[in-house]
């Protein structure tokens, strides 16, 4: 057992876990943050993506101990109260989800993509950058539309800040 200290969605947490605990397990089982989904056991689907120190990574492929001392943002940390994050709002408006299982990971990856590319996003880039996120329902088309839509909205809201 080890004590893992993290900042999760802005709050300091300290959890005692077995050393084999994956970050995805810690978030879901110890912190009840079940928005982070686990869709595979081969590190390929991306449903579990969270941000560690601002980088979108697969939380099922990080030991809790490796994240010790880091700052984590999960899907639960994006909205400001009742106000959805622009990426969440764009997924809703563009019908970017059906069953919703892949959606938390899609959104966390997509926010990272917009941060990296800013206004330089086009459809081909979005499709290429979403390679690590698998969706069984939508055929991706509306997901790509949502990300492009949100990229515009996030640029506007950054400019307003």
């Amino acid at each position: 057992m080890s004590t893992v200290k993290l900042t999760v969605n802005g709050k300091a947490v300290s959890v005692d876990v077995e050393d084999r605990t994956l970050l995805s397990n810690l978030l879901r089982d110890n912190l009840n943050l079940t928005g982070t989904h686990v869709g595979c056991d081969t590190s390929q689907c991306g449903a579990c993506v969270v941000h560690i120190d601002g980088r979108a990574v697969k939380s099922c492929t990080v030991l809790a101990g490796q994240a010790n001392g880091s700052s984590i943002t999960t899907i639960e940390g994006l909205a400001k109260g009742d106000e959805l994050h622009p990426m969440q709002a764009a997924f809703r408006d563009n019908h970017g989800l059906q069953c919703g299982f892949c959606t938390p990971g899609m959104i966390m990856s997509a926010v990272d993509i917009v941060h990296r590319y800013g206004g330089q996003l086009d459809e081909a880039t979005v499709r290429h950058e979403l390679e690590g996120n698998i969706c069984r329902c939508t055929g991706y088309h509306n997901i790509v539309k949502a990300v492009l839509d949100a990229a515009g909205r996030m640029k506007v809201s950054q400019a307003a800040e």
Binding site: T42, L63, G65
Partner: protein, 266 residues
């Protein structure tokens, strides 16, 4: 995953000494290979020794005619490094093709070379550029390092600390990715050294891991152009044959990717 004990090392020496104390210890760098294997219970190290936070193992540096990538530098940082893009753009490009963005944020060059997956990308660049692998014990030339599938010259407990790439006159990489796994179905790295030598390394195709192809090297040495590979014949013996592609298909891919890599190199 079976039980294990996690250690975070703060220096290479500390990591090596922790390794010596564990009964069946393993180093952990980006974890993008080791953790999936541990989740499937195909590996059960008693101890995992995290190298990823060791400062002396992180960074990309260009000095003179050499580009050095330290072992725990993630693929993303290589792909976006100004020094790498300037010195060996083909290498930065190769790093940008590994897996997907989440894998690139964590996976590292040291982990990739220690693992030596027969379809991994970095081995092709390392062999074609004639890089030197530095460890906590010695330096190993690329020609002596790769020993077949998932096998290298590393001894038990030896730590890769950095990889030094001589800056070539020209280099290019072309990869035909497996559409699901993103690994190379076949990837070809071509390099023309500053002394005029040509080296070609192929990943993903051979039953014995990354390999050089003398016939392509000779053809490109005589005539550095994509059309020079047309007349080369690549035997399919010794090439992988599986549900993703027959050995004949891979033999053809080697030529096609070699041509594209030369075009990319310019």
């Amino acid at each position: 995953m079976y039980q294990t004990t996690y250690h975070r090392a703060s220096s290479v020496d500390e990591a090596a000494s922790l390794f010596g104390k564990g009964s069946e210890a393993k180093y952990l760098s980006g974890g993008q290979t080791l953790l999936p294997v541990m989740k499937q219970r195909l590996a059960s190290p008693s101890d995992v020794i995290d190298l990823a936070k060791i400062k002396e193992l992180i960074g990309v540096e260009a000095a003179g005619d050499t580009l050095t990538i330290k072992a725990a530098t993630p693929h993303y940082d290589v792909a976006t490094s100004a020094a790498a893009k300037q010195a060996i753009p083909a290498l930065a490009y190769l790093a940008s093709l590994i897996g997907d963005p989440a894998v690139r944020y964590r996976g590292t060059i040291g982990g990739s070379l220690a693992n030596n997956d027969p379809a991994a990308d970095y081995p092709a660049a390392t062999l074609a550029l004639g890089a030197t692998i530095k460890t906590n014990k010695r330096t190993i030339g690329a020609d002596d390092y790769f020993k077949g599938l998932f096998t290298t010259a590393l001894e038990d407990g030896e730590i890769i600390t950095a990889v030094s790439f001589p800056v070539p006159a020209k280099a290019g990489y072309a990869k035909f990715p497996h559409p699901a796994s993103r690994f190379a179905l076949t990837g070809v790295f071509v390099a023309k050294t500053k002394s005029g030598d040509v080296r070609v390394a192929v990943t993903g195709a051979s039953q014995s891991g990354v390999m050089r192809v003398a016939a392509l090297e000779n053809a490109l040495k005589a005539n550095w152009s994509a059309s020079a590979v047309d007349s080369v014949s690549i035997p399919s013996s010794g090439l992988l044959s599986d549900l993703h592609g027959s050995s004949d298909y891979r033999a053809n891919l080697i030529k096609v990717m070699a041509g594209r890599a030369v075009t990319a190199a310019g």
